[in-house]
Amino acid sequence: MEEDLRSLLQDLESLKGCVSDRYRIGSIDEMKQRVVSIVNLTKSGATRRSKVKDMSAEVVDSNPYSRLMALQRMGIVQNYERIRDFSVAIVGIGGVGSVAAEMLTRCGIGRLLLYDYDTVELANMNRLFFRPDQVGMTKTDAAVQTLSDINPDVVLESYSLNITTVKGFEVFMESLKRRFSQKSGQNSGVDLVLSCVDNYEARMVVNQACNELGQTWMESGVSEDAVSGHIQLLVPGETACFACAPPLVVASGVDERTLKREGVCAASLPTTMGVVAGLLVQNALKYLLKFGHVSPYLGYNSLKDFFPTMEMRPNPQCSNNACIERQKEYLQTKPARDAAAKSKLEAESSKNEGPLHMDNEWNISVVDDSEMDSQNSCGVSGALPEGLIHELPTAEKDHGSLATEESKTVEDDLEELQRQLDALNAA
């Protein structure tokens, strides 16, 4: 590109030599000037910033982290630099996931693992992040291309696969378990998983993986009519898992019967997706850097600008075995958690003497209660707060003897059954 422009400059120069008209020479000079500015533009576009060894709070133009480190100076975050120690997995690099990835990249996250099986298409251009020149690339590779340009300090891993298949799931699990550094959780090599997929099936798969690994994750979703969305924190054993109860979604407030679903699968808006990505990453930052309140569930109804919240306890009858295991473990560690909470409170109260001590004694039991019951918290069958609905019904308990009786008569030989079906297929 730059060479082409240089030769164009030479052509203009020689053209100038053949022209005697002063007015014409002036306009050729003007053209030369424009070419030079294009050359400079392409040069500046090509420069990549080099890696930064330590995050500095120094306020200079060349420091990409100065405004983030200011959060520390203001007392919002205690230790912002810790962000470089965290690994976050983002499943689904679509309208929400790609924007979440960009936000975390700009925040200087340590490592991002990106999962998607799809390629970039022109039909995605109503959403943020991907560019028309990336059409045809896998979404994960295109994301790595853009993100590594924005911030070369972030370690990026691209996994172009379908996590719902048996094979894809194996790779997904292995990649989550692989340790990148000494630190991190017990079973997992990542600190947080963000689910940004657009369907129930894939969410159930992320739920399965995180329940098995005891991995904290956050769910996000945008409704198919593009006007509402939600984010949800899931801590295996501690909060409801995604299979504990039918998925919760924000009621759009539009009469379902008036919705014309014929002829289309789903609509999407860059605005709703951007808002949900922002809510999701904000919650993720609060969780990782330990500031503010981490929302257990936050809904967004864009038609009414209404944000319902709630909490959900795990279902002791959850159909997911790994969830039941994690619930048992959580109950077993309850005495240790209580003791830790108590000693923390005592340590704090010893600093502030006087009547405060009494209040804190009280707080200990409040902590207990909150595990049993807290405001807007909801069991499996409990009433939902205003504006939230279940997306699917619960499974009905089996129809009595019918199914079990029939299962007894099932042939024992699988190959014989295969032969019978083949025979029917051939007929």
Binding site: E121, T164, E201, L392, S407, L414
Partner: protein
Amino acid sequence: MEGWDPNTKSALTQIPLLSTRAGPRDGAAWTQRLKEEYRALIAYTTMNKSHDNDWFRISAANPEGTRWSGTCWYVHNLRRYEFALQFDIPVTYPATAPEIELPQLDGKTHKMYRGGKICLTVHFKPLWARNCPRFGIAHALCLGLAPWLAAEVPILVDSGVLKHKDDESTSAES
């Protein structure tokens, strides 16, 4: 069963129900589930043939029974339109239904997700969820694919997007 046509309803009630809650990662329990799947598919295919309503062929594409392929067809204006059919059994099966794909129609209709996955009606997932783990592959075909073909094939043919294979070969010759 609100929102379903009477034919789908009556076919559905005649497909044997399954009872083992097991997915492809569950070892011996999955083998048991597979047997139940076969039994339901055999019963459903037999029933379709006896009602002169045979409309699909399906068989396992790998020994584990986690991938299935076959064909399905739909008759519109006395002409038969046939499509290749495939799907994977998801790791979270039967909590989530298989996502049925018709790769030949990928990109030809809005009622399809990328990769040729058919877009199911709003009634499918709730019914599947309510009947987990009693519904299997045969039920997914009956409740998911059959109504989809009945709704979409006439539209695709009448709008000219879908050509009958005989017309395609004649137009190629002329």
